[in-house]
Amino acid sequence: MMAEHTVKAFDAEITSLRGLIAEMGGLAEMAINESIQALAKGSLSMAEAVIARDARLDKLEAEVDRLAIRIIALRAPVADDLREVIAALKIAGILERIGDYAKNIAKRVSRIEERTRFEPLTLIPAMAEMAADMVHDVMTAYAARDAALAVEVIERDAKVDAFYDSIFRNMVSFMVENPSTITSAAHLLFVARNIERIGDHATNVAEQVYFAATAEYLADRTERPMN
């Protein structure tokens, strides 16, 4: 819990900024879950809802920008307040990107054919659940200013990456065996890639949460070798 400020309005603005970020996090998480559900069920209406709702995330990001700049301009925050505002600015950008990945997944729903016979489709939801859980938990870490939970989320990214690798291999061999489904499989490969990126972005949020909470930067992670 942070100390109260003499100027009550400052407190209210910081609280409201954090509320906006939390709202963005909730929207991003829901976008991931629903785009994957739409993909698994082949529900075009659900996919369209995800695409339409992304506008709200963009609007919120702009709102965060405005409020953060206003706070910096009017209150000239220092120390933990400054970190809070800067982290909020960056996290808003990242969450907006996560929303874009989910939107991209939703856009691919209509392109995948013969879904019932499409075996690689069964792996995607399990991977997406891991990524969505990372986003959920990193937002909990943000809400609680919990640096330890943030570190734990970062460590979980390796599992999503490993999952991606196995889906990649699986998909390539599937494409070799079933050349007729190559278009659908290629789309699914991009879906898996998007989910993997969502996991990476969740770790980026976690780094910001860690920085805002402790004033220290996490040591740079060694980049994973590309496929």
Binding site: M1, T15, A22, E23, G26, N33, D133, H136, A143
Partner: protein, 408 residues
């Protein structure tokens, strides 16, 4: 607040009036004021004295802010131990979260924007919903605390812009309905397997139009008969399970003698003449009166002995024993000397359609429901079921039922 004033404090007013008179206040106005004060004080004294039986305390006029704080404190300490998660919040800030809410959503949420605690967009819509006359608005939120969780949020309006939000965990109920769906899926799968082999064999027989060797025809017909019987026993088991579900909350009332009942069931397993008996019964002479449903207890014993015979080697003996323990429970144990069950399977044995080895169970004609039925019956009889097993040694199933104490 009548009760917080002492009746004698009203004597202050006449004293003031006396003082006024005494300090030499003269003239009509002074007289009028004095009279008024006397009147007032007499009225006040009467008003107080009509109410003296109530406990009295020091008179103090609480200021509104203090009053509000005291009220808030009272409300909060009343809400604190409530089992369901409660938040008092405005659109901007969570003012209070009770213990259950802090447990579910984290202690950090107090003083934060409500969106920090309730991040799901549907929860946000609930916060934004206009205040109606009915007061309560409700929404079901998936994944509020963790993936797979399901919460029902209800917003009650306390005052303009101040709400109590109640969060009820519906996860387990969602699990139950999921389990129900699973059950229907499993049951139809179990029925479909024998059905498809019946259809397959009958189709082959029909296609051959009588041109098939009698030996093969007979083998096919035997398979059809066996599969049809399997479906029949599965249906019987499903029916008794659903009946058990329906009456699981009303305890049985009839008095039965457990010893005689068990002896009767064991006799059903008597070997054909010339073969060695495979079930041995060991029981004392004392009667074991229990409250129970004869048919159901018979089914329990039959299922257990059946299992023991089915899964143990054909030349091994199954021991059935009935004893009384120190706490007034009749204990029925059915012990086989079979291969035993690995420890990680033990917790799941009473689940419907759970099989440690699906192939062998079906070959033995099991429906996958036997132990589920046993468990339900034992629970309905307020008894206990315990399964102990050592791999390579055998399995012992123990059922404990309370012995009926005869009132003198």
């Amino acid at each position: 607040m009548r009760e917080s004033l002492s009746p004698w404090s009203s004597l202050i007013l006449p004293l003031v009036a006396l003082l006024l008179l005494w300090t030499g206040g003269t003239g009509f106005i002074m007289l009028a004021i004095t009279a008024l004060l006397w009147g007032l004080s007499l009225f006040f004294l009467w008003w107080r004295l009509t109410d003296v039986q109530e406990p009295a305390s020091v008179e103090r006029k609480p200021n509104p802010a203090e009053q509000e704080r005291a009220l808030r404190h009272a409300i909060e300490s009343a809400l604190e131990p409530v089992a369901s998660a409660l938040l008092i919040t405005t659109r901007q800030r969570i003012l209070f979260a009770n213990a259950a809410a802090r447990e579910a959503l984290g202690g950090h949420i107090v003083g934060q924007d409500p969106r920090i605690a309730l991040r799901h967009p549907d929860a946000f819509n609930l916060l934004e919903a206009p205040e109606s006359d009915q007061g309560a608005v409700s929404a079901t939120i998936p994944g509020l605390t963790r993936s797979g969780s399901l919460w029902q949020l209800t917003r009650y309006t306390v005052a303009q812009g101040q709400w109590i939000i109640e969060a009820k965990d519906r996860t387990s109920e969602a699990d139950i309905s999921r389990a129900h769906t699973d059950f229907v899926a499993n049951a139809s799968h179990e029925l479909r397997t024998p059905l498809s082999s019946i259809i397959g064999y009958v189709e082959t027989l029909a296609d051959a139009e009588g041109a098939m060797e009698p030996a093969i025809t007979n083998r096919f017909l035997g398979t059809v008969l066996r599969e049809a019987k399997r479906m029949q026993s599965l249906l019987i088991d499903l029916m008794s399970l659903s009946q058990l579900e329906a009456e699981k909350h009303d305890a049985p009332t009839a008095e039965i003698e457990l010893g005689a009942l068990i002896a009767r069931v064991v006799a059903e397993f008597a070997p054909p003449p010339g073969c060695a008996a495979r079930v041995e019964l060991e029981r004392g002479e004392t009667p074991f009166p229990v409250t129970g449903d004869v048919k159901q207890i018979e089914q329990v014993v039959r299922n257990l002995i059946d299992n023991a015979l089915k899964y143990a080697d054909a030349d091994k003996l199954v021991s059935v024993a009935l004893t009384a323990d120190a706490r007034g429970m009749a204990k029925l144990t059915v012990q086989d000397r079979g291969p035993g069950i690995a420890a990680d399977h033990l917790p799941h044995l009473t689940r419907r359609f759970y099989r440690t080895d699906p192939g062998r169970s079906r070959a033995a004609g099991g429906t996958g429901l036997g132990l589920a039925i046993v468990k339900h019956i034992v629970e309905r009889h307020r008894g206990k079921l315990d399964i102990a097993s050592t791999v390579g040694v055998g399995t012992t199933v123990t059922i404990a039922l309370p012995i009926l104490v005869k009132k003198a």
